[in-house]
Amino acid sequence: MQVTMTVNGASFTSDVESRTLLVQHLRDNLNLTGTHVGCDTSSCGACTIVVNGEAVKSCTLLAVQCNGAEITTIEGLASNNALHPIQEGFREKHGLQCGFCTPGMIMASWQLLERNPNPSDGEIRHALEGNFCRCTGYDNIVKAVQWAAQNS
């Protein structure tokens, strides 16, 4: 099936199998490998991206469901070579170690700050319940999001 979507500002039209998951489409067809796959039960959140302004798990959407969608992935968050404040925050507060969960964690944080520009510690932890990190223990991720909130 033919699908057209705008990804990080550029339009892409591709022929995909109807069973193609959005994350596979991004990674395998559009070579946007910053979005990761960490599980097969929609649990870990490593594949989180933004579709039409909302954070979603791209492993739980079919590419064909996203015909006409506006998509932002981790590769599209920085603008003009300047890191987004959330990206800066993760670096500033050591909110990542191995980096594998990081793109999804950052995109989920983006959603939080869109809806709640000054979240509390507890609100951040709740908002990130759908994103697993095995490295950091989350403490520095919370601080990274707070840093981003203060520096946005």
Binding site: C98, G99, C135, T136
Partner: protein, 788 residues
Amino acid sequence: MGKLIGESVKRVEDRRFTTGTGQYTDDIVLPRMTHAHIVRSHLAHARIRSVNTAAAKSADGVVTVLTGEDFKDIGGVPCGWQVDFKDGTTMHEPKHPILVADKVRHVGDAVAVVIAETKGQARDAAELVEVDYEELPVVTDATEALKAGAPQVHDDLPNNMVFDWELGDQGATDTGIANAHHVTKLEIRNQRLVPNAIEPRSYIGDYDAARDFYTLYTSSQNPHVIRLLMCAFVLELPEHKVRVVSRDVGGGFGSKIYHYTEEALVIWASKQIGRPIKWTAERSESFVTDAHGRDHNTTAEMGFDDAGKITALRVRTDANLGAYLSTFSTCIPTYLHGTLLQGQYTTPAIHISLNAVFTNTTAVDAYRGAGRPEATYLIERLMDTAAAEMNIDPAELRKRNFIPPFDGVNQPGYQTQVALQYDSGNYIAAMEKALETIGYQDLRREQEEARKQGRYLGIGFSSYIEACGIAPSAVVGSLGARAGLFESANIRVQPTGKVSVYTGSHSHGQGHETTFAQLVADNLGIPMENVEIVHGDTEQIPFGMGTYGSRSLAVGGSAISRSLDKVKEKGAKIAAHLLEASVDDLDFADGKWTVRGTDKSKAFDEVSLAAYVPHNFPEGMEPGIEFNSFYDPANFTYPFGTHIAVVEVDPDTGTVTLQRFVAVDDVGNIINPMIVDGQIQGGVAQGVGQALLESANYDESGQFSTGTYMDYAMPRADDLPSIEVSQNVTPCPHNPLGVKGCGEAGTIGATPAVVNAAIDALRPLGVTDLEMPLSPPRVWSAIQQASA
């Protein structure tokens, strides 16, 4: 030293990881690449009557289908550590084939592989592979597997024994227990865990027929070791014609140390089909094929005299190693567990006897901490339990038994009853700092007040020690290791004064590109951006033993330190020549050599340029500045600390909420405090995970009950409080950096503190023991039983 060591320098690697431009193995695409899907057993134990691949072979896009028959004459993946029976009999080491042909021995055992043009085609065709099984009885528990009449995992290996093993003075220990004023005894189940690095394992095998050359891209913690094992034991490939690349790796926690069958599979099959092959685990596969951790059944007894001094520790353990022996599986319950039973205490007699056992389960190997968490758990659970039984404050009981401070320089190292010699330690200092940080006296008063209101607060301790900086090769060799555990570092000074460092350590989250660059830049007096740290490629790095056992800085960093000394030594000779001075008259500081008492100097980049443009060069000296060092440590390092957990338990539901966690650790000297704090916090989260949430379970038919994240409870952001970490510094006396290692400390220390806290909370209700994980149903049942 300069300005960088000891500073929380922001990480070099974060730019790529925060922008989605890292390159993990599954991100790599090679021309003409095919995709593999492995057909796995859904049964825990069954004889394979037949495998029919005809339909799969003719399915759309299928390149080939291979079965166990294709691998019958090829080696299995080996175990890297030989631990023999007490009576000297050689360890039982069955072949772990790449694909099994005779029988499957655990859910997830690999029976066939489909290689196809696309992932989807491989997956579809895999459904067409017909395997006819004859089901066999199953055993999944180590203690059950030892009983007469238990199902035999390997037909020719009686009683499912891998080996039996002991350490310590049995006679003295029995006497110490028999004569004790008080004996505390616990039956402990240290449950099986799944490491769960968020990046699933991923491999690409690429055989180049024109060069007769093999390349393996792998999500591994130690590419050279994979190459060595694959070449020397499994496939008998020429090592100089094999390149193993392991660049960005999404977490390991031990599970990516080992040589896995799928690595050998994609390399071997790539040659058969003449095309690259990628295999990436789905998470459901990771759950049943990544080596698991822990899984000990233990009886532990500790004797005390009437002053609360420990008289002896006696431990009996059945360690479940799963269906096959993973690379380091055999040393975990023995030399990384039995040898740690001294803890921080002056226990005069210790004895452990242990059975290592085959079962119809996924292989068990090192998972963060690896043996040391199991040792710490039993010791520290005994300490808090004994304190309650003897009505002594748990902090006080520990203080009565701590080994007095020793720095390993002015005072000798501490010889334990279980073979090790601790390097340096100041256990009381960590305890005092932890007590002060948490406000212990106030907290106890708060606990009393809460109890009056029907709220159940608990305070739990853990004073742990670990052996890391793994490891002195001669020592481990004498204990059965089939490898040395040194590390290498090559430093190449480029003509313009830029520096490339090729380290055998491997970063999969630890931040070596930053910490090692701080070390090198400070030593050479050059900016950090002039230093590049290269890891994870056997074509670039002379050799490497990889990263695990908190060894990177202590061993890999020390290797870098040795090479830095050589660089500076040669640089000084060149500078002396250029300055027409004696080497003895030069000072090296801020990146230049200065003739003492003058303003005559040569900068680092002037010297490096002279080294590569040696028009005016010392007679007899070779051009260039490049040095490799192999550093083999003199001893393990012994980080230690005290952790205190505060929990509240809801008696109506059994929910345990971790309210505070204070970790005071002593990991020796620190190069990047931010990274050390992060390692400790992340480690604590995994330790808390074991205490409260995580458990890998098999049912009676050997099915894995916890094979997805819907059943295996991972710690999430809202499960944890902020972890309060701080450090004391007792330098390691035997390595050039004085560092000990921080990767596992948090995990080793945290678990018993949390469990002790929950039991402390519920003691007024009569609860004296809890089994991990402290899930609400389990805690609730314990409360019900205690009050019944």
